[in-house]
Symmetry: D2
Subunit: 174 residues, 4 copies
């Protein structure tokens, strides 16, 4: 799996539902599901976000972290931090939500780094920080549940990778 793309670190301006900002790096070892959304996107409100909340509840106690990412690329004035805070409160979303770092008034930085087409977008990142799924639109619950479990059952990093002390590569030995 060495050819798999490493998921770029996200860039965020602010966080909700967490006492401290979260980095993707710090979640290494866990399976991460990112729900990229906009609070005024109908498909996010009716499908993407409720599904993220269901994942949060279904995999509670397992090595799965659900992260919301507010990737605002339109109606910037209507979807500022105050509005988002009220939205998360009213819709009772409990997972951490980061605000994708704005880049002027266009596509925000994380959205650009992942080359997302729009919202909702679902990302699955494995225990080693590699991007394993990038889906624009809606995945079925059956499919998503299966994919998360497939990543969960992959042995954690420490277990699958031997010690690298004293190994050799074409570049030399350590």
């Amino acid at each position: 799996m060495t050819a798999l793309r490493a998921a770029p670190e996200w860039r965020t301006a602010q966080w909700f539902n967490t006492t401290a900002p979260l980095s993707l790096e710090a979640l290494r070892g866990q399976v991460v599901m990112v729900c990229a959304f906009q609070m005024l996107c109908p498909g996010c409100v009716s499908q993407g976000l409720p599904q993220a909340q269901r994942v949060e509840e279904t995999f509670r106690g397992q090595d799965v972290r659900v992260i919301g990412l507010h990737t605002v690329f339109e109606h910037h004035e209507a979807m500022g931090p105050k509005a988002l805070e009220a939205f998360l409160h009213e819709y009772k979303m409990t997972f951490p939500v980061g605000v994708d770092e704005p880049d002027g008034v266009g596509i925000p930085q994380t959205m650009r780094a992942y080359d997302m087409r729009g919202t909702p977008t679902t990302l699955l990142i494995d225990r080693e920080g590699r991007l394993r799924r990038h889906a624009f639109g809606h995945l079925s619950d059956l499919q998503l549940g299966a994919e998360i479990m497939a990543l969960l059952t992959e042995a954690p990093l420490a277990a699958v990778q031997g010690s690298t002390d004293g190994v050799c590569t074409p570049d030399g030995c350590s």
Copy 2:
């Protein structure tokens, strides 16, 4: 039906989806359905507003006017006019929407005048401007369809009320 309560005129600060402000008075002769909502109220987004849009489409061409009323009583900063405009655009709501006149930061004026308990609230006002239904929460489509039709089939004012020239009452004759 003389004991029926006249529906108070609404007080609005701004309108969307209409070229000019609308008054309840000017809609006399038609059946008016008011959907009082807040754009960050989950029950409004999932039930009240889609139902209002269905009424708009089902009774098109008949004497029914659907009016949205944005009765913001919480999270005022998150539900300003810019946010509402974006919301109506994204959710493809096509009926006229008035912004209930704020009264400081609490209950807005029309909401107070009608003594609404919260959102969503459905009002039905008959051809003579009388309040015939005031429901907090959700009415079934069957019930709502039936109630609107019951009001529609009431003969318009002109037809049921004879001329008032020369009539007399205890207060005297005209």
Copy 3:
């Protein structure tokens, strides 16, 4: 409305959920909604029959009668009276259901008389026994609620027609 078609009397072999067979004739004066269905028709189970049950409950206490009509035109062996009885019990349907009189193994007699295209079909019959709506497939609840109420608000026969004692016509006086 004299040009309206009189609804043909239904022909039935058996009844459920009623102590005695019902005739359309005997329901004169009431609004009758007929839900023609087959117990193995997916659209009937998911939409038509639940809607009929909602009508039964929404218009309870008003002059509306909901009638199920089991118009079996395929899989006759699988949808006999025993099967229908079990079905109505398990699905908790409470309105009267008549079994459309078979006509050999093809289209049953009432279905043929009304020239129905298939199931589910909804019929609305007014207080005077005239067929006012014949819809194949699904009507929305809003539309159906409105149509039933429109028929309900038509004055009953007795009220709109004066006494015929002593009246005269070109044919003579009574």
Copy 4:
């Protein structure tokens, strides 16, 4: 996992949607999902069977077999083979369905062997033929998708168990 219960072989009287009867034994090596249902059970029609069909489609091409089991324990006359055949045809169910062997007029034999409480019941049987999940009622798609994938990612029998030629145990060597 040696303490896991081996799933009892099912006992069936007849099959649909397959050219030959299927035995659980013959499916060894694959993950088997059994949807035990009755064609007149509302929860089976609205939830259990559509879910089974979604599993069939979502895991197509993988080592998953979806099996319907018609466990009739009431209304026997209404749910005979002819009725079931029509039902499966109308509802477009494509996975193999076995008829649980009747045991007089009460609980059929497989239902009894698995000690099922009613319908719908979902069973998951792993690649080694062990019963890993027995759920009465409804499992969410997320949960079910995850559980199936967890069983899929368990290495097949041949891979996890070395050759037993020439091995020794306290009982001797082979």
